[in-house]
Symmetry: C2
Subunit: 195 residues, 2 copies
DNA sequence: TGTACATCAGTGAACGCGCGTTCACTGATGTAC
DNA sequence: TGTACATCAGTGAACGCGCGTTCACTGATGTAC
């Protein structure tokens, strides 16, 4: 690969990084192509040398950001296994730190409502990533000896995403902290007495 | 009150009804003032005789739609009490019927991500309505003999909203039905063995 | 190795469009005498 | 009861603005001989 192609590849990564930040902070409609490109140190026109449309960028960014977020969360659970791993991930996900710093976290709470109205391309990207996340959680729940571990994993993911999105929407109210704590406890209780 | 004031009041209700439908179907950014007014049988300009800004309309509509949705759900649980009431509400909320007909349901799954970025006015409206919904659910959980009933209520609400929003975003994938079912079962298990 | 031509990532201005909001206006309703 | 004036809900066109996308152009990199 020549120097030209390498430069292009690096530009593409800067675009995805910029889009990742903006998507987490402002959602899909709030992340304009012009602002994404500005964040990547370029001007609007260049965008279409990298992506055929905004929808395509959103699909790719969602995939990228979800994988990144999943890796960060897994790292925060460290060497734990089974129920302890799931509890550690839930604690990190449903933390004030995560609520107050969208740009470093999971892109879902900021985009979930909008994804439902996006092209199939975007929804398929989400479906694949959610499927993998559910598999990862289900594995730990199985270690913990739970039945129907995949269904439990999907319910735990729903509670985490719903709880964090709700806590963000309620910021400024006493309910916000309460929702985070309530969801954390709820998940912990479901796993009480498991290894 | 004269005929003029009555007419105005009826216009206001038509605006709120139109905004309610559009908010549930297209979210906040997708419900334009012009389209809301068209749905109410009027032209754009008249809007500002009823509301000082779009944010104000959104706050009022959210309140109105959340109350309406709460009443519908309560009706679907009928005369049930305690754990049975909560299970019936969760079944109705996390149904394919509700997932596939946003316009007749809860406005939260379609707007949650966006509300976090709205004015304090909108977020306060949400906080009040969520507070009341939590109180209503907590009452039934207390009847069922659960400890920390208010926290459990907030967690159940988070799971319902998160699960339905996720199921809508995943529409077209096999995961969509699975998420609905998983969240329903998860809530039922939490209440297993309660009256 | 040096020269001529081809490629194409990125620029910057422009496109049509829909947004929230403003405003001069109209005409039916309400009030004063 | 009848007439003259005031009010104000709603109209329809316009405002400035930001959106996603297009396009003629540029200049550095790559290729051919």
């Amino acid at each position: 690969m020549g120097a030209k192609a390498e430069r292009k590849e690096r530009s593409r990564e800067r675009i995805l990084a910029s889009a990742g930040t903006l998507l987490r902070e402002k959602g899909i409609s709030g992340a304009s192509v012009a602002e994404v490109m500005e964040g990547a140190g370029m001007t609007v026109g260049g965008f279409y040398a990298h992506f055929p449309s905004k929808a395509s960028l959103v699909a790719e960014t969602l995939r990228d950001a979800l994988r990144g977020s999943r890796a960060t969360l897994a790292a925060s659970a460290g060497e734990r296994r089974g129920a302890e791993w799931v509890k550690a991930v839930a604690r990190a996900y449903l933390s004030r730190q995560h609520r107050d710093n969208p740009r470093d976290g999971c892109p879902l709470p900021a985009t979930l409502s909008e994804v439902a109205r996006e092209d199939a391309e975007v929804r398929e990207a989400l479906a694949e990533e959610i499927g993998e996340a559910a598999t990862e959680v289900a594995m730990r729940l199985e270690e913990a000896g739970l039945d129907d571990s995949r269904d439990e994993a999907l319910a735990v993911l729903s509670t985490m995403v719903g709880g964090l999105a709700l806590a963000r929407a309620l910021k400024g109210s006493a309910l916000s902290d309460r929702v985070l704590l309530a969801c954390r406890r709820h998940i912990e209780r479901r796993l009480a007495g498991r290894e």
